[in-house]
Each structure stands twice: as structure tokens, then as C-alpha cells.
């Protein structure tokens, strides 16, 4: 087996194992809830019919290992059952919300990384300059504010005081009636609602790629091969390209990790902006004790992190020939 293929194989197996682990952990977590699974939900007002549906869906009358088996089987088949609170299919209920979150987080984080990498490169390659020493402080400062606080400030300044954007929601009330599910996303109204949450995500996470890029550029600039490139007389641009390639490896590794953080942090931003995404849903579901939904949303978030880690590992393997050997 070639080293690259072997590396991919190892990573695939590890990823599948990790996913299985997450599924199991979730099972254990929700089965070890204080009190009976259904009792918790009954307490929050689910009616007997709903509880019966839950019992059937999760095979709660069977032994634990059978529950586990059915749980896995259901999850793998995408059969998630019904939310006892909303009385709708969990998948039907969450799929659009998952989409709403991704349409916010993916462009925002990508934009964050592009800008951050650019600033970090400038800062790192001018080490000791005023920009490097003080220019990143505001970025870190904004990143040090709790995400909800940044979001609130944005609302106050741009929505309330300056009245440039709507304060919350994804679309104006009533504006989506009669439209196909995808049509609202193409409206100006959506775009206006999109700006502030997007900015909040960027503000909150910009320091991550900026600092990491700065650090790795500084480090790569100090490597012997950088000096060797200079002495061989390669033009500055070519040299910068090589430096960027090396320096981008750590940024790339951190990308899925910060996506995970962004998904977590989005709970706050979505709450402030009433953005109908999974973070918002999660808080609602937890407060309503809608465990099937919580469990699934949680799995989606964790699986997303694991899978993006896997994708990055693959890219990493292609970029850096050394990594394949480590297996």
C-alpha cells in the first residue's frame, strides 16, 4: 500500500471509530439522565401519547443493550423519531435549522480565515513593527469579549442607534409566506438580516487565524530553509509563496477546531439575533426537555467537527509528504 493510501486508510478507520464513540457517548449520556427518560419529558408537559411514541421509538421496554442496538440502527438509518414537544419528525424539524446555521457559519468562518490569514501574514512578516505589536490587540480585544456581548453591541449600534439593519430574526415576519423553502434566502430582506450575525461571528473569531498565522509565519521565517531560499536568490514573491504554504498548515489544522467552537459559540449569537439555527434550537430544546432533538443536534455538531477534522487530515496528507510516514 502506498504511504498516502495507507495514511488515508488509517485516518478513515480512526474517524469511523470516533463517530461510533460519539454515538455511544451520547447514548450513555442520555440514558444516565437523573430519573427516567420519559419521566423527565413528562415533567415538561409531554402528553401520554407522545411518551408512548418515545417508548416505541427508543424501545425503552427492552434491555439496555437492545436499546443501544435500536438507537444505533435508527441513527444510522436517519430514523430519528418524533419530537415529543413539537410533535413533528425530528429530522423534518431540524433540517432547515441545520441549513440556517451552516449558511451563517460556513461563509462567516471562511471569510474570517481569509482576512485573518492576510492580517497574520502581514503581522508575522513584519515582526517587531508597530503593527505586529499593537495592531493585533484590538482583534484580540474583540475576540476576548463574550460573543453575546459583541452581538448585543452590534445590535445596539447598527440596528437601534443607526437603524441600518433589522435587530433580529432571519427574515421579516410574514415576508416568507407562500415561498418555496429556498426562496427567502435570495431576498434582500434576508441579506439585511444576515449582516449583523455574520459580523458578530467574524469579530468573535478573527483573532484565531490571525494569531496562528502570525505565529507560524514568524516560525517559518526563522527556519533554515527560508534563509536558504533567500540565499539561492529566489524572488520575494516565490519565497513568500513557500512560506505561506508552510505557515498555512497549522491554520488548516485549527480550522475544524475553530469551526467547532464557532458552532458552539453560535448558540449565543443565534440567541441574541433570534436566528433560527441549531444553536437556537438546542437552547430551546434543552429548556423544553426535548431530548430526541437535543441528542440529534448534539450528534450533528460533533459529527461535523469529526468529519471536518478528517477532511483536513486528508488535505494535510496531500500537502505535507512527511505526515504520511507518521501514520
Amino acid at each position: 500500500m502506498s504511504s498516502l493510501r495507507r495514511y488515508f486508510a488509517v485516518r478513515s478507520v480512526q474517524t469511523v471509530m470516533m463517530l461510533a464513540l460519539v454515538m455511544t457517548a451520547l447514548f450513555v449520556l442520555f440514558r444516565s439522565m437523573p430519573g427516567d427518560f420519559t419521566a423527565q419529558m413528562a415533567a415538561s408537559g409531554a402528553n401520554e401519547e407522545a411518551l408512548q411514541a418515545i417508548r416505541e421509538q427508543w424501545h425503552l421496554d427492552e434491555p439496555l443493550y437492545m436499546q443501544y442496538y435500536h438507537y444505533l440502527a435508527n441513527l444510522v438509518q436517519g430514523n430519528l423519531g418524533e419530537s415529543p414537544v413539537y410533535r413533528v419528525d425530528v429530522w423534518e424539524f431540524t433540517k432547515l435549522r441545520i441549513f440556517n446555521t451552516f449558511i451563517l457559519v460556513a461563509p462567516a468562518m471562511t471569510f474570517t480565515y481569509v482576512i485573518g490569514v492576510a492580517i497574520g501574514t502581514v503581522a508575522g512578516s513584519n515582526r517587531g513593527s508597530a503593527f505586529e505589536r499593537f495592531g493585533t490587540v484590538p482583534i484580540i480585544g474583540v475576540g476576548s469579549s463574550p460573543a453575546f456581548f459583541t452581538a448585543i453591541l452590534l445590535v445596539i449600534v447598527f440596528a437601534v442607534w443607526l437603524n441600518l439593519f433589522p435587530t433580529s430574526g432571519m427574515t421579516s415576519p410574514g415576508s416568507t409566506e407562500g415561498l418555496a423553502w429556498w426562496e427567502p434566502y435570495l431576498t434582500r430582506d434576508f441579506a439585511a438580516h444576515y449582516v449583523l450575525p455574520f459580523t458578530a461571528v467574524v469579530c468573535r473569531y478573527l483573532f484565531i487565524p490571525t494569531l496562528i498565522m502570525r505565529n507560524s509565519v514568524v516560525e517559518v521565517m526563522g527556519e533554515d530553509f527560508t534563509e536558504y531560499y533567500r540565499l539561492t536568490g529566489l524572488p520575494t514573491l516565490t519565497r513568500l509563496r513557500h512560506i505561506a504554504k508552510h505557515a498555512s498548515i497549522p491554520v488548516l489544522t485549527i480550522y475544524p477546531v475553530s469551526l467547532a467552537r464557532a458552532l458552539g459559540g453560535l448558540v449565543l449569537i443565534e440567541t441574541v439575533f433570534n436566528w433560527p439555527g441549531i444553536g437556537f434550537t438546542l437552547v430551546e430544546a434543552v429548556l423544553a426537555r426535548d431530548y430526541p432533538t437535543v441528542q440529534f443536534v448534539f450528534f450533528v455538531v460533533a459529527a461535523f467537527v469529526i468529519v471536518s477534522n478528517f477532511v483536513v487530515d486528508l488535505v494535510y496528507g496531500v500537502i505535507d509528504p512527511r505526515i504520511r510516514l507518521e501514520g
Binding site: 527556519e223 533554515d224 534563509e227 540565499l231 539561492t232 536568490g233 513557500h242 512527511r322
Partner: protein, 352 residues
């Protein structure tokens, strides 16, 4: 050996530090002729690497040539900009073999890719020809031609060092500067690499500036040598002359500090202390504090560089007590207590 290819004249290089100007080389002069192998020897901290880096414009940002000139083929190059050096001097004329090949090769690039980039910058040759040239040099340094497309990590340490030597040679420069090219390697690998470097002298008519702490390889492979101590060149001349008639106390003590497997039980010379860090102008002999024969005048001014009267006009030393010190060293029995040591001194006497 015809006209000088490279002339370093009265060169002083300093680094700006928090504590002031640190002098790395002070008023150093030497020249390298076409086809000549020139060795620059000294301990760590002697300034030998700084000197070499100044030639190819590789000083760190806080380093600068404070005074003196570096002349390559009649043109002063010490003030050329980085861009001019890249366009006209680097790799076309002067190439560089760094100390740590393992860290100097870009781990993300195949060796051939790195060569193509260098070749495309400095020549108009088509890619195929550049690859052919690299293959040829791979052959010269004893690597399989097929391996030019390997990544650096696929090579062993010794092979990486050869690959980087091949990269220094494949555009056929006039002068190669090698900064401790074998320090990280085992003796066998070192010997193979010098075998190849020696072969170059015959095959490519190339000049070499070899920087090393190991004077034995200089004595074996170089035509001329300069011995540096703490920024100053203590002694310079042909290897034969410096080996036979060293006059600077640092030169002969340094030489005697090296073990020679022909005389395994010879007592080795010990030089007390370590090279000082020098701030500002060095207007004294930098070896004075470590020299057993130092006199007050050694600290009163930088010693002038003067000829050694041994029939070799290029053999010079910078010591105010050169003959006296050497006499005392020879008559002082302490470092020479068995037959072998005395024998080597006796040999020197003969040449004298």
C-alpha cells in the same frame, strides 16, 4: 592559480544588539584565486560563519558590513542590494552549502522542484536541461540520478547533505561557500563527501571557501587556510606553510589540540577559556586573555598582520610576539612529554 576571484579586504562586520555593536569579524583580509580551495578555521564564536555570510549577502537583519570591501572579479559587492545579489551573484557566481541540509531543504518540495525554481531564476534553460544538469551533479556526489524527484525526508542525513551539495553545484558557479558541510555527519559520510568535493577540484575547476572548526579536513582538502579567533584572522597562508610553521600562538595551539590517529597517545593541547564577545572596535589581540605568552603590548592595539619569514610570501600572522612565543612554546616541555609530540615538532624544525 591566477588572479584573485574573491578578495576580502579589511572587512569588519557588526551586529546591532541591545548592548551595543557586537563585532563578529574585525579587519579581516584574505583572497581566493580561481580554482583554489580556501579553508577558514576557528572555534564557535570566531566569526567565520559571519564572514562567509557577508560574502553572499546572508547576514541577519541586524548585521552589517561596517567597513572594508568584498571584491568579486574586480567588482565591489559588499554594498549590492539583495535584489542585485540575487540577479547577478547568487548561484550564478557564488553558491552556498549550508550547515544543516536536513533543515535547509524544504520538506514540502521535491529536490528537483527546488532545483527547477533556482534554475529558472538564474538561467534561461528549459526545464528538461535543468533536470539533466541536476542529474549529472547527483551522479558526481554519488546519488542515484533517479532520486532527484524524491522528497528530502526520503533521504538519509548523509544523502540530504549530498543533495544540497548537488544543488550548490548544478548551475556550475565559480565559487562555492561551504559552511560546516559535514559537522552533523559521521566520519565515514564526511569522508565520502570530501572525496566528492576533492574530485570537483579536478573535474569542474571550481573554487571553494570551506568553513569548519575541524582543521584536519582543511589540511587535507584545502590549498590555503586562515585561522580565526574571536573576530580576527590570527594566521593565514598555504596549508603547507601554516602546518609546518605556525607562528600565532592560537594557530599552533589550535593545531595541537586536534587528535591525530597516527599518534593516539599524544597529549592534546588545551586552550583555556573561550573566545570573548567583543563590543565595538577591537583594538587589541582578541586572543590575549587566553594566550600563555600575552604581553602588555598585545592589549595596546590590534596586532599588525606581518609576513612569516619562511619563504612563503602569502604566509602572514597577526601576533606581536610571534617568533618569541613560538620559541618559548618549543622549549616549554609541558605540552610535549612523549616521543610523538617531540617528533612532530622536530618535523616542523626540518621544514624550518
Amino acid at each position: 592559480m591566477s588572479e584573485p576571484l574573491l578578495e576580502v579586504d579589511d572587512l569588519t562586520v557588526q551586529y546591532e544588539t541591545d548592548d551595543g555593536m557586537l563585532t563578529a569579524t574585525s579587519n579581516a583580509s584574505f583572497s581566493i584565486s580561481e580554482g583554489e580551495f580556501f579553508g577558514l578555521a576557528g572555534e564557535s564564536g570566531s566569526g567565520k560563519s559571519t564572514l562567509a555570510k557577508a560574502i553572499i549577502g546572508g547576514l541577519d537583519d541586524n548585521g552589517q558590513v561596517s567597513s572594508g570591501t568584498i571584491t568579486y572579479r574586480g567588482e565591489e559587492i559588499q554594498d549590492l542590494s539583495d535584489k542585485e545579489l540575487s540577479q547577478r551573484i547568487r548561484w550564478k557566481e557564488i553558491s552556498w552549502i549550508p550547515q544543516g541540509a536536513m533543515s535547509s531543504l524544504d520538506p514540502l518540495q521535491r529536490v528537483s522542484e527546488q532545483a527547477l525554481e533556482i534554475g529558472n531564476v538564474h538561467t534561461d534553460l528549459p526545464d528538461e536541461e535543468i533536470r539533466d544538469k541536476l542529474k549529472e551533479t547527483f551522479d558526481i556526489v554519488g546519488l542515484q540520478e533517479s532520486r532527484i524527484d524524491d522528497y528530502p525526508h526520503q533521504f538519509s542525513g548523509g544523502m540530504q547533505q549530498r543533495a544540497i551539495i548537488a544543488l550548490a553545484l548544478f548551475l556550475e558557479p565559480e565559487l562555492v561557500i561551504a559552511d560546516e558541510p559535514t559537522t552533523a555527519l559521521d566520519v565515514i559520510m564526511q569522508d565520502q563527501i570530501f572525496t566528492y568535493l576533492d574530485r570537483l577540484k579536478d573535474e569542474l575547476d571550481i573554487s571553494l571557501l570551506l568553513i569548519t572548526h575541524d582543521i584536519s579536513v582543511i589540511f587535507e582538502s584545502c590549498d590555503s587556510v586562515a585561522i580565526m579567533h574571536a573576530s580576527q584572522i590570527a594566521e593565514r597562508g598555504t596549508t603547507d606553510a601554516v602546518h609546518a610553521n605556525p607562528r600565532h600562538p592560537y594557530a599552533f595551539m589550535f593545531k595541537e589540540a586536534f587528535p591525530d590517529i597516527r599518534e593516539p597517545k599524544r597529549e592534546l593541547e588545551v586552550i583555556e577559556g573561550h573566545p570573548p564577545e567583543l563590543m565595538g572596535e577591537v583594538d587589541f589581540c582578541s586572543f590575549a586573555d587566553r594566550c600563555p605568552w600575552a604581553a602588555p603590548e598585545c592589549r595596546e592595539g590590534a596586532p599588525p598582520t606581518e609576513s612569516v619569514e619562511d619563504g612563503d610570501p602569502s604566509h602572514v600572522t597577526a601576533c606581536v610576539r610571534k617568533e618569541e612565543a613560538y620559541e618559548m612554546y618549543r622549549s616549554d616541555a609541558s605540552p610535549i612529554d612523549d616521543g610523538s609530540g617531540a617528533q612532530s615538532i622536530a618535523q616542523m624544525g626540518e621544514v624550518d
